[in-house]
Point group: C2
Chain length 318, copies 2
Amino acid sequence: MNLALDMMGGDFAPLEAVKGLQLYLQHNNATVYCIGDEQQVRALLSEYNLPEEKTVVIHAAEIIGYNENPTKALKEKPDSSISKGFQLLASGKVDAFLSAGNTGAMLVGAMFFLKPIEGVSRPTIASVIPKIGGDTALLLDVGLNVDCKAQHLDQFAVLGSIYSSSVLGISNPRVGLLNVGEEEGKGNTLCKETYPLLKDNSRINFIGNVEGRDIFNAGADVTVCDGYTGNVVLKLGESMYDIAKSRDMHNDEFIRRFAYENYGGTPILGVSKPVIIGHGISNDVAFCNMLLLAQKMIETDVCGTIKTAFRRTGTSAS
Amino acid sequence: MNLALDMMGGDFAPLEAVKGLQLYLQHNNATVYCIGDEQQVRALLSEYNLPEEKTVVIHAAEIIGYNENPTKALKEKPDSSISKGFQLLASGKVDAFLSAGNTGAMLVGAMFFLKPIEGVSRPTIASVIPKIGGDTALLLDVGLNVDCKAQHLDQFAVLGSIYSSSVLGISNPRVGLLNVGEEEGKGNTLCKETYPLLKDNSRINFIGNVEGRDIFNAGADVTVCDGYTGNVVLKLGESMYDIAKSRDMHNDEFIRRFAYENYGGTPILGVSKPVIIGHGISNDVAFCNMLLLAQKMIETDVCGTIKTAFRRTGTSAS
């Protein structure tokens, strides 16, 4: 298994990436392509005694900063660590690409270098949500598609279900539509149009509408909504975690489960190969978990399952 | 000052309404029209020693239940406590109407009996949001208008600003547009169309986009969004409070400020007279605070200020 890791992404790069890689390689076997400033990366790999047979350093002369325009930066910086990572992934040299760098550049890069899986009209990003009962659920889209049609949400439901069962290990995941009330017929135009599609979709286990109060409670295993709403919910949840931490409530078992490090980043679903976006403030544990998530996505062949699902049904949406 | 209170609304009606009224009348002067089952209400008013000169019992032979269709129920139950309350308000006998009963019936009743203020195309409901720094902000719309146009959000900004300054006492309240990023040009179609309207609106103090993470943090004093998103955020916030309570975190000063009792219910903004919707689980403190809020809305003449603002500018939206 070959993984490509952007060593220059994240606020504490490349140190935390190296430390995370060290944690990961202690217990796992993979060849990791470390993309970044060769001199800096080599020095740190050596300092942290990382095994040479498991690491390949790929020099990237440039970095795409957090505030750069993604499309412009990808065009103008072919030697950036993000561009190089996607080149490696597209060429087949590696099986997954991971970065805690510029999120927009990762999204644009995934579309440009990999393209969506045939039949998937809108790749999507999902966030893992801790449930009060101990379960782990999925919310999508969380920001890639701010304007959606019903057909897109219908596809998100399939993508989320496949990811939930393959990667999170939830069998026959219950799918809910985020709405303002439980009854069929509730909601805005998008919800009203989406509900019948989900109800008729034999590939998912649709349980109906779920509300804002259900997101962290029982609710569904996979909750679908447009990316505008999902992004608001995601950032609100993150801020609640930060508030809880700042007020000494982070020792609570439920609150602790919000810690971003645990989730290893956000996968882009619907592109042909595993691409994982890490949090800007990723520490060593976060990088290690990103690598573990990539490994799991490869081992479970979640992208292959998605390809088969969308080829079989020929679902189309524009 | 004459207030009409639905004694039959709320899970603990009419007892908690009576106890709340008792709390209120201890320190305030108003005549309260108590609408409900005459026998039950009279017995409780007497049991709790409520002053006869400050209470008028209005018999209502019917109740609109929580699960009834609002429009149908209002038509078929003219003798319900909610219908009678609106009749009193529309006729001018009382200056405000308050109920913790069927929310939908309260919304439909407000539109049917009172109609929107001239120039207001969409009355709206707002929720009070506690900020981590101690301030109190407003989020609107929180569910009355699930599909919105930019012009509606522009009007919500004005309605929210007037309420925030008149009732919450915030001078020159900062208005934010709930969005997925801070920069102008971010967001879904609705946000992109709303931003320039808010920017050009000289009647508000627009500070730009705010994100999900800003809702409980610094952010804006008045945050506007469509009612679908606002409803999801509101219910998510309520569920976080419930979770915090269930996990013994409710002694935290910030968490305590989420307690619904403190806010005295949700006003409908943009109709000609004060209408306040209470929480279904309202207790005595909640009822008392609903009455105090009604009193404040009358004393500050917030509806009159809204009328003047919309007459002056002739803002129109459809």
